[in-house]
């Protein structure tokens, strides 16, 4: 009672915007502090069974000649058959696997997204474990063309050479699946969906041959025939899910410790392990995680709770295919040791250097503080709306019951009025505000449907039309709203209250699933907290707010992403539509059904500050 009573006092209510601002400030500062030595930790191997780099690797010698001959085959095949997913590649590679005495399977797939057709054929072979019972499997994968569209000649050849080489060992306790997918985006998804019988036949064919539960996946991406300088480890999964940190640690330890290859993360080609580079690595990781797209062929595996990474050869250097082959060999020896599924180490982390990370307990408060700022503002508005109502009723006379309560409230000065207000809370006109907020949230399904179902040819024009509409939409909606019903200041306060409550709720739930997306949207949306829903006296303030808001729309963010990647807008939208159809990516659901409605409502509030007064 006493707490509520004091909460109702104006002084604390006036402080609430400050508390909100403090939350945002602390949240952002928190994130910026993470790269410091005091807040991040060195990585370590949690799972003792892994024993990274504890074995001798024997790949090399004559295997190198075998590798080179395969590379010739692959290069020749790549020139002739191009990478359009024609069965030539699958037939040829399947023939090579068959010659090793491995069981071979092929899978045709075809996806249609945003009017584009993505078809191809995967080929894979299963090495049955001499010491296992086919209940567990590891996957060594190479995409025929990598994410950049280059022919992955050395990568595919390395998988072939390793298939031939690893078959000779008798120590495998898990089956090894050698998988060549015809592309980097749709192929792995089709394969892993079918592996778990969650594909949609007949567009995606079923697998003729299967093995046990997949424990780990390593993808090799080595598109040149020259030596390489360092290894780039890609680990982001779809929807921002990450593989177990132990897998990355094992790869880093083997590559840098055993093989003396420099490793890199998040395209940070040079990294001095100081604050700035750590921060940049972390932020790049967060952008990738937040966008939730597939960063490599491994990404499709991660939603199935399969830990997967891509090893990319980068730059020109003196490391050759044998070093990479040995790295993979050693990595598979480690994975072979696993007694149970990866579970020891972290699934939620931010990496800021290849041996530096923060875990969820350390970083989550920053996103949560930003989400909480909305909730605090909502609670503040709720309490304040009780007073607003009282003030309003006083002016208007109100209906009998409330003014009666009001009299009591103002009656004997000695009685604690705040406590009385507790007992006889004023009734707030909730229905209109609630209906408005819910309706706007449902409105979000329109752009969601539109951008996932339009043909890719129309994307650019559709986007510009939408962006233009988006500029005027809040004012139009506000005009319709004020014309059709007669909202008061109180209505606007309640609309803001519900909208912020929902936003805070969605973002804190999202923070547990995809921290980065929640944080980024939270930061973009943070000015909404400070919009004053009561009519502004000066129209200039409203105009300034509107300008600021226009700079923070989801459409602006989309343009920002396009700029960040240096790709045209239509490509980004195509990727999003493809992700929605094929990968099951739900970033756009969050953008259109959580962020965009909150933004629209903020716009309506600003526009309302002109409309209501009149």
């Amino acid at each position: 009672m006493i707490i509520t009573a004091s909460l109702r006092s104006t002084r604390i209510l006036k402080l609430l915007p400050l508390v909100s601002a403090l939350c945002i400030l602390v949240g952002v500062t928190w994130l910026l502090l993470l790269p410091l030595d005091d807040y991040s930790r060195r990585t370590y191997i949690s799972e003792n069974a892994l024993l990274p780099g504890q074995v001798h690797t024997y790949f090399g010698g004559s295997e190198q000649d075998v590798f080179r001959s395969y590379r010739h085959e692959v290069t020749a095949l790549g020139k002739n058959a191009s990478a359009d997913g024609s069965g030539v590649m699958a037939a040829k590679i399947g023939g090579i696997f068959d010659a090793f005495g491995l069981k071979v399977g092929k899978q045709k797939f075809e996806y249609i997204a945003a009017g584009g057709v993505y078809a191809g054929e995967n080929v894979y072979a299963v090495l049955q474990a001499p010491r296992g019972d086919a209940t567990e499997a590891l996957v060594l994968c190479a995409a025929w063309v990598n994410t950049e569209g280059e022919l992955n000649e050395s990568g595919v050849a390395l998988v072939l050479a390793l298939a031939r080489y690893l078959k000779r060992w008798s120590l495998w306790s898990k089956d090894i699946i050698f998988l060549i997918t015809s592309d980097s985006r749709a192929g792995p998804q089709a394969w892993v969906d079918s592996y778990h019988d969650l594909h949609a036949p007949p567009a995606v064919a079923s697998l003729p041959l299967k093995s046990g539960a997949i424990q780990g996946v390593v993808v090799v991406d080595y598109p040149t025939s020259r030596g390489f300088e360092s290894l780039h480890i890609v680990y982001d999964g779809i929807n921002g899910q990450l593989p177990n940190l132990d897998l990355i640690n094992t790869a880093v330890r083997i590559a840098s410790g055993q093989m003396a290859i420099r490793t890199m993360l998040q395209e940070m080609w040079s990294h001095d392990n100081q604050y700035r580079d750590r921060l940049r690595t972390m932020l790049r990781g967060m952008v990738n995680q937040g966008l939730g797209h597939a960063s490599g062929p491994h990404s499709s595996f991660i939603p199935y709770h399969i830990d997967a990474i891509t090893l990319q050869a980068y730059g020109d250097g003196w490391h050759d295919e044998v070093t990479l082959g040995r790295t993979v060999e050693s990595l598979f020896r480690s994975l072979n040791n696993l007694l149970e599924h990866f579970h020891q180490s972290f699934f939620f982390y931010l990496l800021m250097a290849e041996r530096r990370f923060v875990s969820i307990g350390t970083y989550l408060p920053s996103a949560m503080l930003i989400a909480v700022n909305f909730t605090i503002a909502a609670i503040g508005l709720w309490l304040k709306s009780g007073r607003l109502d009282a003030g309003e009723e006083e002016n208007k006379g109100g209906d009998g019951k409330v003014s009666e309560g009001k009299e009591k409230l103002l009656g004997p000065a000695g009685e604690a009025p705040s406590a009385a207000a507790d007992a006889v809370s004023e009734e707030r006109p909730l229905l209109l505000a609630m209906a408005f907020v819910v309706a706007i949230h449902f409105l979000g399904f329109i752009p969601l449907y539109l951008f996932n179902n339009l043909d890719e040819k129309n994307f650019t024009s559709a986007f510009y039309i939408f962006a233009l509409l988006n500029v005027v939409l809040p004012s139009v909606l506000c005009a319709i709203f004020t014309k059709s019903s007669t909202p008061t200041r109180l209505h606007f306060a309640l609309i803001k209250c519900f909208s912020l409550l929902l936003l805070g709720m969605f973002l804190s739930a999202l923070a547990t699933l995809n921290f980065s997306l929640s944080f980024l949207i939270g930061v973009f949306a943070s000015p909404i907290t400070f919009i004053n829903p009561t009519p502004e006296r000066k129209w200039t303030v409203g105009a300034a707010w509107m300008t600021l808001l226009q700079g923070l729309t989801p459409t602006t963010a989309l343009v920002g992403v396009a700029y960040y990647w240096g790709e045209p807008l239509s490509e980004i939208l195509k990727e999003a539509a493809f992700g929605w159809r094929v990968w099951g990516m739900w970033t756009q659901v969050v953008v259109w059904c959580v962020w965009w409605p909150a933004w629209i409502i903020a716009g309506v509030l600003v526009a309302g500050s002109w409309a209501v007064e009149a």
Partner: protein
């Protein structure tokens, strides 16, 4: 039933049909949600039981099916078309809404022979109460997930509707059916007797004292329950196996599938030697509120029923969202006390938070593999906390309302209990 109520019901039926038809994968998706389907209500398990039953095997073999035998008999007479099943569930919701309309029309929630609230005028009209039930997302999700709790809820509401109309025998018969379907409604018998007795005309009350009235109704209840048991014995081919597989499961909690309640995690962690003791404690805990509430809220037996339903939706062995939906729909009859409640905003936001975070944490635990059982349990605790606060806040508000009706001069003043 007035035109508005009729419109509300039609709209609700159309909405439910549209959900069933427009999203064909939605019913099965929701059926698999642990928040909606429990081991004792799940539609999937019902189908398993039906399969065994129609193939001449005991439905309780295999330990999957834990529902009443009459449900089997009922569903075997239905054509196997899914649309018929949808319609049955929709009809059940419509009947619930109809009962709610009857209860609201009777005005028992605002005025009983011993108490008439001074805030009477702000109660919701019947159509609004029906709408609060029919358009509650929890009710809609429960209807679409098709757990058999839907039928229990309908029968409970029918019992209350009969009770407020003074048809004690009919009310108790319906209550016997509800208890037969899911055991815990048996706790509602005493307040139901009070409710039916209060609505009797004064002439009849003179003829028959509360004691004898209660005795009659209790024996009717017992006979009805025994009759249902005997019928079930016949349906399952002369075997008493169903007793252990249905009520035994409610009482002994052999199936520890997660749900929104507080039991499953507790009994997973429990050492076996303490299991019996804590089972008794947990079961007794449910019954403990009965006498106290009946005495303290003697003037408003309908509110006792409402509160008991709220309590059992938190503390019973296999609660689901459907139980909370029933409590919330009955609470909407008490719209006039909402202004007296102190934590509505807190409760609403906590319930919403839990609704969002529950599925998220369940996903992290079961599908993503990056969380664990503690995540989901923590959220069910938050959920239960919110419902607990709501229940106690509603009791506070009703008591305050009674007090203010007695002493109108004290309206709006702070009170301290010494």
């Amino acid at each position: 039933m007035d035109r508005r109520s009729f419109t509300v019901i039609i709209a609700a039926v159309v909405l439910r049909l549209a959900m069933f038809m427009a999203f064909p994968s939605l019913p099965d998706l929701l059926t698999n949600r642990v928040e909606l389907s429990t081991p004792v209500t799940s539609f999937k398990r019902l189908q398993e039981g039906l399969f065994l039953y129609t193939h001449g095997l005991s439905p309780y073999d295999g330990g999957v099916f834990h529902q009443a035998p009459l449900l089997l008999a009922f569903f075997t007479t239905l054509p196997s078309n899914p649309i018929v099943v949808y319609l049955v569930y929709i009809l059940s919701d419509v009947l619930s809404a109809y009962s709610l309309i009857q209860i609201a029309t009777s005005g028992v929630s605002v005025s009983t022979p011993y108490h008439t609230s001074s805030r009477k005028s702000s109660a919701w009209p019947p159509w609004a109460v029906a709408a609060a039930f029919l358009f509650n997302p929890f009710s809609i999700a429960t209807c679409i997930a098709r757990p058999t709790i839907v039928f229990t809820n309908t029968v409970i509401l029918t019992a209350i509707a009969k009770g407020v109309q003074g048809q004690g025998v009919a009310a108790v018969l319906a209550l016997a059916m509800a208890s037969y379907l899911s055991l815990y409604p048996v706790l509602l018998l005493p307040p139901m007797v009070l409710l039916a007795y209060d609505t009797l005309p004064a002439v009849k009350k003179k003829e028959c004292s509360l004691g004898s009235f209660a005795a009659v109704l209790t024996s009717v209840f017992t006979f009805a329950a025994a009759g249902l048991g005997a019928l079930s014995w016949g349906i399952t081919g002369g075997s008493w196996e169903f007793l252990a597989s249905t009520y035994g499961v409610h009482l002994l909690l052999p199936d520890l599938t997660p749900n929104v309640g507080l039991w499953w995690y507790f009994f997973i962690e429990m050492f076996d030697s303490f299991r019996e003791f804590f089972l008794c404690v947990f079961q007794l805990h449910l019954a403990v509120y009965l006498a106290g509430l009946c005495l303290r809220l003697r003037k408003q037996p309908l509110f006792v029923i409402t509160t008991l339903l709220g309590i059992s939706s938190i503390f019973k062995s296999y609660p689901s969202i459907g139980d909370t939906a029933l409590y919330l729909s009955l609470l909407s009859l008490y719209r006039h006390i909402f202004p007296l409640m102190r934590y509505t905003f807190f409760v609403t936001s906590t319930l919403l938070y839990a609704t969002l975070l529950g599925p998220a944490f369940y996903h992290l635990w079961i599908y993503a593999g990056s969380g664990n059982a503690n995540f989901f349990y923590a959220i069910t605790l938050v959920w239960s906390l919110a419902v607990t606060v709501l229940v106690s806040d509603a009791i506070f508000a009703v008591l305050r309302d009674e007090w203010e009706t007695e002493r109108p001069e004290m309206k709006g003043k702070e009170i301290v209990q010494i």
